[in-house]
Amino acid sequence: MSTQDTPTPAPSWEPRIIAFFCNWCTYTAADLAGVSRMKYAANIRVIRVMCSGRIDPQFVLEAFAKGADGVLIGGCHPNDCHYAEGNYKMLRRFRLLKRLLADMGIDENRFRLEWISAAEGEKVKTVVNEMVENIKKLGPLGLPDRLAELNTELEAEHLPVSEPHEKESEVAHV
């Protein structure tokens, strides 16, 4: 029952953040940051979705359950959604999901929603850097490791099949 997430992370530890970016704005902004040669922390793994309204809360929970230290969502500014209403749907889900995550002991700095238009490459850089800094202070979340630790209370010879825990390097990048 420590108040800190993990007091002493391994020295080599770096936060891993899953970022869901909307195709029409934030993903384009990240592209812009790239072609403008801006530098920002390399801790995010970007997943492009067609709209922030497409982001199922299951995606967020699964990211955390599989070992993400943070989840960042980027969508279009209010009134700018390519599909008219998607970003509002995301905002509403975000407000309750954030509370649910807090109730499950996940710090609010680990889950962030930002409106970033296609022109705001600079904002991608600021937001990502900020989030990486915040999560570095919190330490690793490490849900798979926590679960593996708890599963040692089961009889060792018949450990249950846990959720597959792929190592980053084993994931095929197509």
């Binding site: 199922d56 407000r95 309750l96 999901l97 499950m104 209370e153």
Partner: protein, 345 residues
């Protein structure tokens, strides 16, 4: 006549699932006639040793209800898994962790401290707790305790003359049955309805079982069989949420249209919508359909998308009507949810 062996067992459960078996009423006679019940602790007297002595796989099916949250329950789940051809998770607790799964929001220490020391109705000046550690022999010599190692667990045994009793240890995490052993089928519900039970036992005896891993209930949302379905508006829009005790509920209109959280859209059907029939919204005991991994996330997604305001404060005001999202959305499924447990409990 050959009569296949059937076992019933309970782990962390309330006894409601056992009631359902009895609720088969006269139909249970037809079942009992065709099977040989080899274990049913709630109703008949059997010894675990008799089960241990049986050849592996000799029980046709074990219907196990209750979540797994102690070393004894784990041991029995493993034993019955080994002895049974089919292991069936019976009821919400075995299927998705059930109400006991909500304990995954607290550590074992928090639970023991509250129950044995802090709860308002507890008088326990000496702070006595169920023991899992070595105790000095201060009982006058008749009761001697030996510490035993079993794997990484501290098992504790009490030797009274020649009899040895073992005390189980409470797990840190509540688990659904399939998080401990392999499960063949699931019968959902808190408790499962007599109809589903009858259908499952019938299928079992006739040997027409669906593919392994199936949940033995229809794979569509509850709304499909809800008598209020016709009154569900095309566009649901929430201006505020009411809890059932805060409002006089219209007995015919869709709960969502009345601003009441109903788990129906995210819950499997098969119960004949008994709760909506009794003018109470669905609380989700049948778990999700096969296309959904996390029931709570899905109902959250659906409800929130239809909140009316578009600004943060307005949205928060409406959502304040759901004061306990974990308890509401994961009432029966926290153990089987994606996150499974509160971190830093």
């Amino acid at each position: 006549m050959f009569r296949p062996k059937i076992a019933f067992y309970w782990c962390a459960s309330c006894g409601g699932c056992e009631e359902t078996v009895v609720d088969l009423a006269e139909d249970i006679l037809g079942v009992v006639e065709k099977v040989n019940i080899v274990l049913w602790p709630v109703a008949m007297d059997f010894k675990y040793d008799a089960i241990r002595a049986m050849p592996d796989g000799s029980i046709l099916a074990t219907l196990l209800n209750g979540a797994i949250r102690s070393t004894e329950q784990e041991e029995m789940a493993r034993l019955l898994r080994r002895k049974s051809k089919y292991l069936i998770a019976y009821g919400s607790c075995a299927h998705t962790g059930g109400i006991p799964g909500l304990a995954n929001q607290f550590s074992r220490e928090q639970i023991l401290r509250f129950v044995y020391e802090e709860s308002p109705s507890t008088v326990n000046g000496e702070k006595t707790r169920p023991q899992t550690q070595w105790l000095a022999d201060d009982t006058g010599g008749t009761l001697v305790m030996h510490r035993q190692k079993r794997g990484s667990l501290d098992g504790l045994s009490f030797v009274d003359q020649d009899r040895m009793l073992k005390l189980p240890k409470l797990h840190e995490l509540v688990r659904s049955l399939d998080q401990v052993v392999e499960v063949d089928y699931y019968v959902p519900g808190c408790p499962p309805t007599p109809n589903l039970t009858k259908a499952a036992v019938g299928a079992l005896l006739d040997g027409r079982m669906p593919p392994k891993g199936s949940v033995l209930a229809p794979d569509v949302a509850l709304c499909d069989e809800c008598p209020r379905k016709a009154s569900k508006p095309t566009n649901v829009s929430f201006k505020e949420f009411h809890r059932p005790h805060q409002k006089v509920l219209d007995p015919a209109q869709c709960f969502l249209a009345q601003g009441v959280v109903c788990m129906g859209p995210a819950t499997r059907s098969g119960c004949t919508a008994q709760c909506p029939g009794g003018n109470m919204p669905c609380t989700g005991c049948f778990g999700p359909t096969s296309r959904v991994r996390d029931q709570g996330a899905k109902i959250l997604s659906s409800l929130c998308a239809n909140v009316e305001p578009k600004d943060e404060d307005g949205i928060d005001n409406v959502l304040a009507g759901i004061p306990d999202p974990v308890g509401t959305f994961y009432r029966y499924g926290l153990a089987k949810s994606l996150l499974r447990q509160k971190v830093n409990r």
